[in-house]
């Protein structure tokens, strides 16, 4: 495996307003590194949805982004409630978010499907009461 550039972020679970700042930061870095706009957009949308999920469902967490010349790997880890049924959670429109979250513009049940849509690989590891780790890979074509 070739050398990766690594970025680490702590996602504050108590602050909906700042959710997404890590994704914005990654977007800026990838732009500076000269990645194609389409790759940057896919990485930032996937990471942004994941970041929002960590804030609205899991009381925050950490994000690590590994940048290789040919791919970008995003790892989101939280110690929230975990996901009971991953296949169900992956379905478009499925959401356990309360109306208070929907009033903020999220909770349409499109987050995980979007993360899948914009990445080449996505793995979810989740244990109830322990937490969730989501790994996503975006290839640079």
């Amino acid at each position: 495996m070739d050398e990766a550039l690594k970025f680490h972020f702590v996602i504050d679970g108590d602050n909906f307003t700042s959710a997404g700042e890590a994704s914005v930061e990654v977007k800026k870095k990838l732009r500076q590194l000269g990645f194609p706009p389409d790759v940057i957009r896919r990485v930032s949308i996937a990471m942004y949805e994941g970041e929002i999920n960590m804030v609205i469902h899991a009381r925050g967490g950490v994000a690590d982004v590994l940048v290789y010349p040919d791919r970008i790997v995003i790892i989101l880890e939280d110690h929230g409630p975990g996901i009971e049924d991953i296949d169900l959670a992956m379905q478009e429109g499925y959401s356990t978010a309360p109306d208070s979250v929907r009033a903020l513009g999220f909770g349409a049940g499109m987050g995980l499907p979007n993360m899948k849509r914009y990445t080449e690989e996505m793995h979810i590891e989740s244990t109830l009461g322990v937490g969730t780790t989501i790994t996503m890979v975006v290839n640079v074509q």
Binding site: T17, R41, E49, M110
Partner: protein
């Protein structure tokens, strides 16, 4: 269509980035659910929304959108305006409701998103 042309069509007020009004948008998307926007929207789309919080601006940033129209007379907070300003996103506000705002853009041949 240039963002400039949207202003009179929607009788909109310009809230920031007046120097970006010549940017072209090719379609529009009306939604209060940000994941729906993230699912289908491309750059050069104008976003129409009744939602007011900083995630609206961040959603636009993620897909490189350049124009957000707040409907029903909604006004973004100073914090949102600063974020949009920094990212060169034009913010407009119209008193029209979502249905009419989208309808006016549609009949003036701004294509639908999709």
């Amino acid at each position: 269509m240039k963002i400039r042309e949207i202003v009179p069509l929607l009788e909109a007020e310009i809230l920031c980035c007046e120097d970006e009004l010549d940017v072209e948008v090719y379609n529009a998307c009306g939604s209060d659910m940000m994941s729906d926007v993230l699912a289908f929207v491309k750059d050069q789309t104008a976003l129409l929304t009744g939602l007011v919080n900083p995630q609206v601006i961040r959603t636009a940033m993620m897909v490189d959108m350049r124009c957000i129209v707040f409907v029903r007379g909604k006004h973004p907070t100073p914090e949102m305006i600063a974020l949009a300003e920094e990212n060169r996103i034009v913010l407009l506000s119209t008193g029209l409701r979502m249905y009419e705002a989208c309808g006016r853009l549609y009949v003036s041949h701004l294509a639908k998103e999709g």
